[in-house]
Amino acid sequence: MPTLESYEGQTPAWCPGCGNFPILNTLKEALAELEIEPHQLTVVSGIGQAAKLPHYMKCNTFNGLHGRTLPVATGIRLANHEMPVIAVAGDGDCYGEGGNHLLHAIRRNINVKLFVHDNQVYGLTKGQASPTTMEGVVTKTQPFGSLSEALNPMAMAVALDCSFVARGFAGDAEFLKGLMKEALNHKGFALLDILQPCVTFNKINTYRWYSERVYRIGDDHDPFDRIEAFKKSLEWGEKIPTGIIYRNSRPTLEERIPVIEETPLIKQLFSFKEAEKEIRGFY
C-alpha cells in the first residue's frame, strides 16, 4: 500500500506560497488513497511551472515539450492501456501551444486525465498573458491590455462533449482531492481545470480573489445534463463554480480499437516468421 512518503520526490523550486504546492500534495494524497503505486503510473508534462510537478513526486515520467503533453500521453495509453496516465499542464501549455491537441484528445476520448494548473498567466517566462488571462489585463507584452477574450475551457469542453469536465481550486484542497479521485476513476478523457494563484506574476487573480468567488457545485446539479452543464460552464466573474460540471459515458478510444481489445500492445508477442507470408502477397 503506497503512503504519502512513497511519492516523496525532489524539493520543488516553486515560489513560496505558489498554488502548485497544494495541487502537488493533493495529488499525492489522491493517488495514495486510490492505492496507485508510483511505478504503476505515468505522468506526462510539458513546459512551464506546472510541468515540473512529476519531478517533485515519484512516478514514471515523460517531461516533454511545451504544448505536446496530450499526444505523448495518447501514445503511451495506446501502447499500454493498463497504465494510468496523467497529463499535467499549465494554461499556456495546453490551452495555448497545445490547443489543437486538446481539441482532438477530447474527440478521441483517450483515457488520459488532464490536470491543468490554470493561473491565468505565464509564470516560467515571467508574467505574459495566457489564453485564460482576463480581457484588459496589462502585462509587459500586452501594453494595451490583453485584447483577446479569455478562453473558457469548461464551456469549450462541454461543447465538444468531453467525457469529464470539472474545475477545482488550489485553495480548497479537500474538495480538489475528491475531484482528482473522480477524474482518475472516470473511464474516459477527463479535463480538470484547477484555479491556481500565481503569487509572483498574477496580482489580480489572487487567493483572495478566487476565495471570494468560488463555490462548490451542489447536488442539485446533474452533470449528465449537457444543457445544464453548458449553463454552469458559462458562469464566471462574481460566482465561479467548482466541482464536476459535466460527464458522460462515451466509450474510450482504447475500447474502440480492436487490436488492443484483449491485451495491451506492449504485451503482444510478435513473430516475424508469421509475417513472412505477407511477402507472398506481392507475387
Partner: protein, 575 residues
C-alpha cells in the same frame, strides 16, 4: 525484349487498374517489370499516366519511347504520340473520344461497345483494354483470368464471369484487327517475380521489424506507408492513429515508444517540417523512433505528386541542438525493405531517431524481385522488460555507461521508475542545470554513440568497371536509372556507378576505399534530383572530395534512361 506500355487519361478513369493488372500479369509471367506513375494533384480530370516497362532482363528505370500507348482520352494522343517507338501503336476507342485516326500506328478498339456486348456493362471497358493489350502482345490470357478471379472474388461469380468474358473479347478483337502489330514476347518460363513499390516495401519492412505503432497525418507521397500498415493492423496488432497534425504524430509515436513498443511516423517534407521539434525531443529523451521522409518538390506545397531529392540537407540538419541520428536512403524497394529493418534496429539499439529518406519516385515505382531473404533481418529486443529488471536495485534511465547506451526499461514492468525529460537531465532523468552533468550527457548522447553508429554504416555500392575512367555518383532513388545508364555506356567506356544508400553518419572509407576509386578517374559526376547538388556539398564537407561536374534535374520529374544517358554522353564528349 524490352517493351514500354503507357496508359494515359484523366484521373478517375481507371489507369491504375489497367496498369496494375498488366504489371501483375507480366511479373507473374516471370518478366522483369518497372512501373512508374505520373499523376496530378487532383481526384478527377487532369492528365495522368501509368507506365510499365517489362523485359526478360532486369529493368529498373523508365524509358521515354513507348511501344503501346493506351489512350483513354484525346489529350493523351495529342500529348504522347510523339514518344511512340518505330513499331509502336496507339490503341484508343474512337467512339468514346469522338475522333478517328487513320494514320498508321493507330488502332481503334471500341472498348465500351465490346464491354457492353461481352459483359453487359460499359464499366468493363478497362478490362477489355487490358485483354486487348495481351492480344496485341501475343500473350496468353490464363494469368489475367486468374487475377480477375482473385480481384472479383468478393463480388461473386457473375461479375467475375463477365469480366473474364470482357477480357477475352478485348483479347480476341485485338488479335483479329491488329494485323500490323509486331511484338514478340518470349514464352514465359521463369518463375513468377514479386512486384512491389517503395512505400509498400517500407511498410513491409516496418511490419517485419515488429513495428506496432504508426501515427501520421496523411501527406502525399508518404501516405502509402500508412495505408499498407493499416491494411495489416488487425492481423498483426498494429495501432494506426491518424493524428491531428504532424506535431502530434511524432509525439504520439514517441509516447508509444517510451511505453515500450516499436513506433514509427512518416510524412513528406512539409509535414516533417512540423515534426522537427519532436525530432529534437526524441534525441534528448533518447527515445527510439523511425521517421520516413518521402520527399516531394518544395518549397512549401511545391509539386505535391512529383519527385525531388531536395530534403537531404534538411533532414540531416533538422532539429535544434546537436545530436546523433541516422539517415538511410534506399535506392530500390528491396533496399527500402531491408533499410527499414536496419532503421528499427539502429533506432532501438542506440535509442536515436533514424530516417528512411525516400521520395515520390521510389514510393510509387513498382519493381520486380525474385524474393526477399528474411534470414538477414535483425530483430533483437533491446529493451529491459520485467525479468531483466528483477535484480536491478537502482535503475537510472539515462545511466552513464562506457558506450553511452543506457538500459531502456519498459515503464510499469517492474517497481523501477522510468523518468525522462526534454530538459537536460541527470542519470535518473530529472532536470539539471549544472555544467558538469551537461557535458557528461552530451558526451554520452553524441560523442560516445556516434563512433559506434558510424561502424554500422555500409559504404557505397560500386557497380560497373572496377577500374573506371568515369564514375557517376548518386544516392537514393536514382539507383536504377544510374545502373542502367552504366550498362548502356559500358560498351564504349570504362564506367562505374557509386551509389550511397546510407548517408549519415557519412560512410567511412575503412570498409571500402571509394575515395581512391574516385581519385583515379578522368571524370566524376554527381547525379541528383535537385537544383543545388546537396549530396555533392555533403561529400565535399565530409571527405574533401570535389566532383568534376554535376547533373541536376529539378523539374519535379525523375531521370529517364535516355535523358541521363544523353547527358552523360554530352559530358564525356567534353573530355
Amino acid at each position: 525484349m524490352d517493351y514500354t506500355i503507357r496508359i494515359g487519361g484523366e484521373a478517375g478513369q481507371g489507369l491504375q487498374t489497367i496498369g496494375g493488372v498488366l504489371a501483375k500479369v507480366f511479373s507473374r509471367s516471370g518478366f522483369h517489370v518497372f512501373t512508374h506513375q505520373d499523376y496530378m494533384s487532383r481526384i478527377r480530370g487532369g492528365h495522368n499516366f501509368y507506365q510499365i516497362r517489362f523485359s526478360d532482363k532486369e529493368v529498373m528505370s523508365s524509358r521515354e519511347k513507348v511501344d503501346i500507348l493506351i489512350a483513354l482520352d484525346l489529350y493523351t494522343i495529342e500529348t504522347h504520340k510523339g514518344t511512340l517507338s518505330e513499331k509502336g501503336i496507339i490503341i484508343y476507342d474512337a467512339a468514346f473520344i469522338k475522333k478517328v485516326f487513320n494514320s498508321p500506328g493507330f488502332l481503334n478498339i471500341p472498348f465500351e461497345e465490346i464491354a457492353v456486348e461481352a459483359g453487359g456493362n460499359r464499366i468493363m471497358a478497362n478490362t477489355v483494354a487490358t485483354g486487348a493489350v495481351l492480344g496485341i502482345l501475343g500473350m496468353d490470357l490464363t494469368i489475367l483470368e486468374d487475377i480477375i478471379r482473385e480481384r472479383f472474388r468478393k463480388k461473386g461469380e457473375d461479375i467475375t464471369g463477365k469480366n473474364i468474358a470482357s477480357a477475352r473479347a478485348g483479347f480476341d478483337h485485338a488479335v483479329k484487327v491488329c494485323t500490323m502489330c509486331d511484338f514478340t514476347v518470349p514464352e514465359p518460363g521463369a518463375p513468377p517475380l514479386m512486384l512491389i513499390n517503395g512505400n509498400e516495401a517500407t511498410g513491409l519492412g516496418a511490419l517485419m521489424s515488429g513495428c506496432r505503432f504508426y501515427a501520421a497525418y496523411p501527406m502525399t507521397p508518404s501516405t502509402g506507408i500508412m495505408i499498407f500498415l493499416a491494411s495489416k493492423a488487425k492481423e498483426y496488432g498494429i495501432v494506426i492513429e491518424q493524428a491531428e497534425d504532424e506535431i502530434s504524430a511524432i509525439n504520439m509515436a514517441l509516447g508509444a515508444s517510451f511505453a515500450g513498443t516499436r513506433a514509427m511516423t512518416g510524412s513528406s517534407g512539409g509535414g516533417f517540417a512540423l515534426m522537427v521539434e519532436g525530432l529534437s525531443l526524441a534525441a534528448m529523451t533518447e527515445t527510439p523512433i523511425v521517421i520516413a521522409e518521402v520527399q516531394r518538390p518544395g518549397p512549401a506545397t511545391g509539386l505535391p505528386t512529383r519527385t525531388e531529392q531536395a530534403d537531404l540537407l534538411f533532414v540531416l540538419h533538422a532539429g535544434h541542438g546537436e545530436f546523433a541520428r541516422v539517415v538511410l536512403a534506399p535506392g530500390t524497394p528491396e533496399q527500402a525493405f531491408f533499410l527499414t529493418n536496419k532503421a528499427f534496429d539502429l533506432a532501438e539499439k542506440y535509442q536515436i531517431p533514424v530516417f528512411i529518406l525516400s521520395d515520390q519516385y521510389l514510393a510509387d515505382t513498382e519493381w520486380t524481385f525474385r524474393g526477399l531473404n528474411t534470414g538477414s533481418l535483425r530483430n533483437n529486443d533491446y529493451r529491459s522488460r520485467s525479468e531483466a529488471l528483477e535484480g536491478v536495485s537502482v535503475y537510472k534511465r539515462h545511466r552513464l555507461t562506457e558506450n553511452g547506451i543506457s538500459p531502456m526499461a519498459v515503464p510499469g514492468e517492474s517497481g523501477r521508475l522510468v523518468v525522462t525529460d526534454s530538459d537536460e537531465h541527470d542519470e535518473e532523468g530529472h532536470m539539471i542545470e549544472d555544467a558538469e552533468t551537461r557535458i557528461k550527457m552530451t558526451q554520452k548522447r553524441l560523442m560516445k554513440k556516434l563512433p559506434l553508429i558510424r561502424q554500422e554504416i555500409e559504404p557505397p555500392l560500386l557497380y560497373g568497371s572496377d577500374r573506371p575512367d568515369i564514375v557517376i555518383v548518386g544516392w537514393g532513388s536514382t539507383y536504377g536509372v544510374m545502373k542502367e545508364a552504366v550498362d548502356v555506356l559500358s560498351g564504349d567506356y570504362a564506367i562505374a556507378m557509386l551509389h550511397f544508400s546510407e548517408l549519415h553518419p557519412f560512410p567511412s572509407t575503412e570498409k571500402f576505399d571509394y575515395l581512391s576509386i574516385l581519385g583515379n578517374t578522368k571524370l566524376s559526376l554527381c547525379i541528383e534530383n535537385n537544383a543545388t547538388g546537396q549530396f555533392s556539398h555533403l561529400m565535399r564537407a565530409e571527405t574533401g572530395y570535389k566532383f568534376d561536374a554535376r547533373i541536376n534535374k529539378y523539374d519535379g520529374r525523375p531521370f529517364t534512361l535516355e535523358g541521363l544517358s544523353g547527358e552523360l554522353y554530352a559530358h564525356i564528349g567534353k573530355l
